[in-house]
Amino acid sequence: MERTDTADGPSKVMSMKEAVAAFVHDGATVAIEGFTHLVPTAAGHEIIRQGRKDLTVVRMTADIVVDQMIAAGCVSRLVSSFVGNSSAGSLGELRRRIERAGPAPLAFEEYSHYGMVCRYLAGSQRLPFYPLRSYGGSDLPSVNSDLRKVTSPYPGPDGQPEQIYVVPPVNPDVTIIHAQRADRRGNTQIWGLTGIQAEAVYAGDKAIVVVEEVVADDVVRSDPNRTLVPSHAVDAVVVCPRGAHPSFAQGYYDRDNAFYRAWSHISKDPERLRAWLAEWVYGTADHAEYVDRLGEDFWAGLAVGEALSEPVNYGRRL
């Protein structure tokens, strides 16, 4: 009953250019997830290179890559629960768009982190809503009419009817995540911080998984619990080493904290921001060129040592 490899279906490996062209369309809702770890920056840059317009970007932590996509004119609406440059400062372009509507206004749907998590949970589980014990007394429902309440059909702790806030599902047209590795058909393995990536993929109509490396089927199958996203949920596998820079990939390279700090200054000045995009995004054919231009010395500074997990025994029938 063992199936041969060739019979298991076609490879989904394609270039970033192909994946973005095929699955990210003007006007689409695009979820880009990765909580500080494994931020799909290279995918955002390719969306900028291809000049996508009018995107609704869904992202818990709208950070540098979102600021860049906004600055490049790709984004008309943002759905997020944290719009800041990590703990390193501000997102200059995003603030200009919201504070001064300049050069153009940005529609913003504001949530809390768990509100976003629950929207992905509802989206991935095909639920009409997801309940959570936040938002009671907050001003957010007054500016976000999608935050609504439901009365529980069970009595509350005091025997009285109990109300709880709910959020609606989010079902992006495409979800993009970055991961350490996948096999050629999209069985995707992530370790370290795993965030909301799996649910974001299941919530999406299509999914692009960008990986540090494609590995042999046997590597994935030696540890099936490490597969957070099975192939049936994946439409494109893009091999893009160091594609999460300036964020990090646990076990592959460290976070570029200096760039996070620099971004607050770069993004504060529209001219400087334009120049940065011209040099590093429009001025590079693809992420490989971006990586090359940073240079091997630079990457050596982000290199990490080895700390291997101890193997576990899955066992085999004797």
Partner: protein, 258 residues
Amino acid sequence: MTTTAPETVTSSELLSVVASRELASRRTVFAGIGLPTLATELAHLTVASQIEVVYESGVCGAHPSHLPETIADAVLISGAEAVLSMPALFGCVLQGGHIDVGFLGAAQIDRWGNLNTSVIGDWERPAVRLPGSGGAMEVMANSHEVFVVMRRHNPRSFTAELDFCTTPGPDRALAEGIRPLGAGVTRVITELGILARAGVGEELRLVAVHPGVTVDQVRAATGWDLKAAASVDTVPPPTEAELRLLREDVDPGRVYLR
């Protein structure tokens, strides 16, 4: 056990082959162990090369070293492509709408494809307490369609009135104002033939009989007034190629092929 000659096709072989054909071009199947496994593995070798079985235990893309004895058999886990938690399996994969065909069995089925796996008799004090839903209710509500394989075709199992409806098809759900994802039961494959319906609002109708079986025989074995298609086909018997694959490649140890 030795290979049976093609002319003596067992009931398991017949049902597996017929079910496998119905899986043509399907991608994801939610299946238990036994006949659904045989049908899916045979379909993989014949009419649905990219088919993947998802098991209720959470296993996706199994590559077992031996034929599994349960949906949770250790040989399904070692070497699998993914093993999911229950919330991911039931929430994201099944309720999320990723299953093309779910396989279910039942103690009783009615003309709309509603199923009983809870009790024979009254729920409070039943004559027979059956295992209950397991995940069947979720398979029915969330798969795009459901195939039922029942060896025995008799009026007690194919009943006008279920003793208890554990697992409702979409007609019953809609009557309550709940809109399910899929079509419910679209195929019932038995030792006598194939019943089919397209989805909501349609009764199961007899669409094919096995060679030598008459429409009247099937009607007599069915506890409701079974309607037949305008033209009832005869199920083409298993081909030599299908039987060879089933016996030599899918289940050479005859674990399920009884």
